[in-house]
C-alpha cells in the first residue's frame, strides 16, 4: 500500500462519483436532444446534490432507515476499492487480490440490500413494493451476470480482475470479441443493474411513486444520488475491465466507460418499462440462455 494508493483511496470515491454524476448529467442532455429539446446543463446533477445536502432533513422512520443510504454508499465505496481502475503506467488498483471477482459478485449486492433494508423500514407501501421488485429484479439479472463472470473465470482460469485485464492485451483480445456470449449476458445484466428503461421497475414513478426512495429526501437522497453516480462509475469501470481490456489512462477510461454507458442510455430513451414478471422472463430467457451456451462452449 503506497502513500499514493492511500491518496487515491481517499480521492477515488469523489472522482468516481463526480464522473458518474457527470455521465448521468450528460445522459440527461442526450435524452433531451432525442426528445427534441435542450435539457439541463451537464453539471445539473452536481447542483442537485449540493442542493440536497443543503436541505434540512427531518424524516424519522427508525435506525435502519437512517443507515440504509449510509450502508449503501459504504458498499459502493468498498466495491470501488476492489475494482482496478487504471492499469497503465500509473496504475490505480486499491485492494485487488486473487479472487476479487468473487468478492465483487457479493459486495455489489451489499449496497442494494442495505437500501432495501432502509427503504423497507420507511413503512411506505410504495417503498415496500419497490423493495420487493428490486430484490426480484436482482434475482433476475444476477443469474446472467454470474454466468457471464463464470464464463470469464473459466476461460482465463482466474478469479482476479487484474488477470482478466492482463489477458486482454490487444483490441482483438478484448473479451467483447473473444467471448461475445459472456458479453451479451453481462450487458443484459448491466441493463438491469443500471436501472434504465426498460428495467427501471424498481423506481417506476408512474406505478409506485419512486419506489424504495419514496420516503427519502434531503440529505438521505443526496447520499443516495451520490451513491447512484458512484455505483454507475464502479459498474462501468468493472465492465471496462472485464470486457474492454481495462484502461491505461484516464482518457481511455472515460472513452471506454462512456461508450459502455451509452448502451443502456440509448435503450432507455426509446423504450418503455417492463412489468416485473416480464423483466424476469427476459433475464431468465435470452441472456441466461446465451450465457449458458457460452458457458458450455467454454467448458467444451
Amino acid at each position: 500500500m503506497s502513500p499514493m494508493n492511500i491518496i487515491w483511496m481517499i480521492a477515488m470515491p469523489f472522482i468516481g462519483a463526480a464522473i458518474g454524476l457527470l455521465y448521468i448529467g450528460i445522459s440527461r442532455n442526450i435524452t433531451a436532444r432525442v426528445q427534441n429539446r435542450f435539457g439541463p446543463p451537464p453539471y445539473q446533477n452536481i447542483i442537485d446534490i449540493i442542493k440536497l445536502y443543503s436541505k434540512k432533513t427531518a424524516i424519522t422512520h427508525g435506525v435502519m432507515f437512517h443507515l440504509g443510504p449510509v450502508l449503501a454508499i459504504t458498499g459502493t465505496i468498498s466495491t470501488l476499492m476492489f475494482v482496478p481502475i487504471l492499469t497503465g503506467n500509473y496504475p490505480i488498483y486499491l485492494f485487488s487480490f486473487q479472487g476479487d471477482l468473487i468478492l465483487l459478485m457479493y459486495i455489489m449486492v451489499f449496497g442494494c440490500l442495505a437500501m432495501a433494508l432502509g427503504a423497507g423500514q420507511s413503512g411506505n407501501p410504495n417503498s415496500a413494493i419497490g423493495v420487493s421488485r428490486g430484490l426480484t429484479q436482482m434475482f433476475g439479472y444476477e443469474v446472467p451476470f454470474v454466468i457471464a463472470l463464470i464464463i470469464l473465470m473459466v476461460r482465463f482460469d482466474t478469479s482476479s480482475v487484474l488477470d482478466i485485464i492482463k489477458a486482454q492485451d490487444t483490441v482483438a483480445h478484448w473479451n467483447i470479441f473473444r467471448s461475445p456470449f459472456s458479453f451479451i449476458a453481462a450487458i443484459a445484466a448491466f441493463l438491469g443493474m443500471m436501472g434504465n428503461k426498460p428495467f427501471d421497475i424498481v423506481f417506476a414513478p408512474a406505478e409506485i411513486s419512486s419506489g424504495p426512495p419514496s420516503e427519502y429526501g434531503g440529505k438521505y437522497l443526496a447520499l443516495m444520488q451520490t451513491n447512484r453516480g458512484l455505483f454507475a462509475f464502479v459498474k462501468l469501470v468493472l465492465y471496462t475491465d472485464l470486457f474492454l481490456g481495462g484502461a491505461g489512462d484516464f482518457i481511455t477510461l472515460i472513452l471506454k466507460t462512456f461508450a459502455l454507458f451509452l448502451i443502456p442510455l440509448f435503450i432507455g430513451i426509446v423504450n418503455p418499462r417492463f412489468r416485473t414478471e416480464q423483466a424476469m422472463t427476459f433475464f431468465w430467457k435470452w441472456p441466461t440462455a446465451i450465457g449458458v451456451v457460452g458457458l458450455v462452449l467454454v467448458l467444451l
Partner: protein, 180 residues
C-alpha cells in the same frame, strides 16, 4: 432557532444550488396542471433551468398549487406540504389561488391560498401560459438567490395561525401533527 434558519437562508452556495435545482412535486391539484406538461416538455423545456418533476413530497422542493383547491384536496396538500423537506417553496397558479378566481362563490374551494399554506410566488393567469409559469420559476429563483423565499420559515413561525385557518375549513382533522 431563528438564527439557524436565517443562516440557512443566507448561505450563498446553498442558495445558488437551490436556485438552480428546483424539483417540482408532480401533483396536479387543479386545472392549471394542464399547462405544466407543456412547460416541462419539449416546447418550453423547463428542465433547462434545472426544474424537473419529482414523484414524492420527500424529494421535492417546489409545490405547485395549480389553481383552486377543493377542501378535500387542501387536506392532502397540507399533508404533502408538511412532508416536504425544508427549504421548500410554494407557487400559486392562476387567479383562483389569489382571490378565489372563477370559483369565488363555490362552496367547495378555498379562496385565498396564502391563508392555508405560505406561498412564495403567485403567477397570474387563468391558466398561466407556459411563459408565465417559467417566469414564475425565474422570479422564485431570484427570490431564493436573495434569500427571500422564506415561506417555509413563515409557516413554522406562524404555525398556529395557519393551523387555525386550516382547521376552520377542514372539519375532520385526522392528520398527524407537525413532524419535522
Amino acid at each position: 432557532m431563528n438564527d439557524d434558519l436565517d443562516r440557512q437562508n443566507n448561505n450563498i452556495i446553498a442558495n445558488w444550488a437551490r436556485k438552480h435545482s428546483l424539483w417540482v412535486l408532480a401533483y396536479g391539484t387543479g386545472c392549471g396542471a394542464i399547462e405544466v406538461p407543456p412547460t416541462m416538455t419539449s416546447r418550453y423545456d423547463a428542465e433547462r433551468f434545472g426544474i424537473t418533476g419529482m414523484a414524492t413530497p420527500r424529494q421535492a422542493d417546489v409545490l405547485l398549487i395549480t389553481g383552486y383547491l377543493a377542501i378535500k384536496t387542501l387536506k392532502r396538500v397540507i399533508r404533502t406540504y408538511e412532508q416536504m423537506q425544508a427549504p421548500k417553496y410554494v407557487i400559486g397558479f392562476g387567479s383562483c389561488t389569489i382571490n378565489g378566481g372563477m370559483y369565488w362563490d363555490s362552496y367547495n374551494t378555498i379562496k385565498r391560498l396564502d391563508d392555508y399554506i405560505p406561498v412564495d410566488i403567485f403567477i397570474n393567469g387563468c391558466m398561466p401560459r407556459p411563459e408565465g409559469v417559467i417566469d414564475g420559476f425565474i422570479k422564485l429563483q431570484e427570490r431564493i438567490a436573495r434569500g427571500q423565499a422564506k415561506g417555509w420559515q413563515h409557516y413554522q413561525e406562524n404555525l398556529d395561525w395557519y393551523r387555525a385557518n386550516q382547521k376552520k375549513v377542514i372539519k375532520n382533522w385526522t392528520m398527524p401533527d407537525y413532524n419535522w
